[in-house]
Symmetry: C2
Subunit: 130 residues, 2 copies
DNA sequence: GCGGCCCTTGACGTTTACGTCAACCTGCAA
DNA sequence: TTGCAGGTTGACGTAAACGTCAAGGGCCGC
């Protein structure tokens, strides 16, 4: 037997609402087991959820996150599907590279912004001294 | 005299719609000059627009982008405001660091996904060979 | 002076990603 | 047995970020 989770277990642990979790399932990002009506989440579901949250942090849409999750198991893939999966992977990689560039640029701008702020602050303080 | 742009100039060059540009202004991210009714964009406006697009690529909201743009000139800042600006800068920096971690993790997952795909593909092809 | 092109301001529609009830079942402790 | 904590579906509301008309003004070449 393996570890399972209730929906509120995951909600607490990952700091999201149960509504969000159900919504992700509605959108096809999750497919937990059921015990009667009740949802039973596996460790793999939890991994998927973490992937979703990670994706969201870097601006991925839920549709993109779903693709990523689907890439997670290439079972039942015919040749065409597998090739399209590889293409999607390459696409995502390019996107990530672009994001790295964007983040580096943002950091530089934060540097100059900080510099100006500290200078303006020094000015303010020296004037207050007079 | 300096270089200026019409709204459609910028729309073409940055590959966005004029509607989007007007919306950003409506949200306080831009404040172009006017010649009568007509909007006249400066080089600085263009920089702001690029910053917006960069921000969006890494998942920033327009509100966050606006903050970044506001950080761009600390003029008219009293001491309290300047300190709050420095705090915001630090906050954004943390966010960027987290995103870097997330991107690295994503890359790793793409690696394993690709590996599985190519293996599944090899399987498919070898079976087709028989 | 008229059609075409670019600009403007509304105003309403749409998609995404949930929030927020309502109404109901269900096991279990008091 | 009752009442509560935690689960369910369903329906409607909402914020963000624009898209999509509609209606009109300004200039320009023919």
């Amino acid at each position: 037997m393996s570890t399972t989770y209730s929906i509120s277990d995951l909600a607490r642990e990952l700091d999201i609402t149960t509504r969000a979790i159900r919504f992700y399932e509605e959108q096809g990002l999750l497919a937990p087991e059921r015990r009667g009506q009740e949802r039973i989440y596996s460790a793999r579901d939890k991994v998927s959820l973490k992937l979703i949250l990670r994706g969201k942090r870097i601006g991925f849409s839920l549709a993109e996150c779903r693709e990523l999750i689907e890439l997670y198991d290439p079972t039942g893939g015919n040749q065409i599907q597998l090739n399209s999966m590889l293409a999607k992977i390459a696409e995502r990689r390019e996107q990530l590279e672009q994001q790295l560039l964007d983040i580096e640029q943002m950091k530089l701008e934060l540097d100059t912004a900080e510099e100006r702020c500290t200078q303006a602050l020094a000015q303010t303080i020296s004037q207050a001294g007079h």
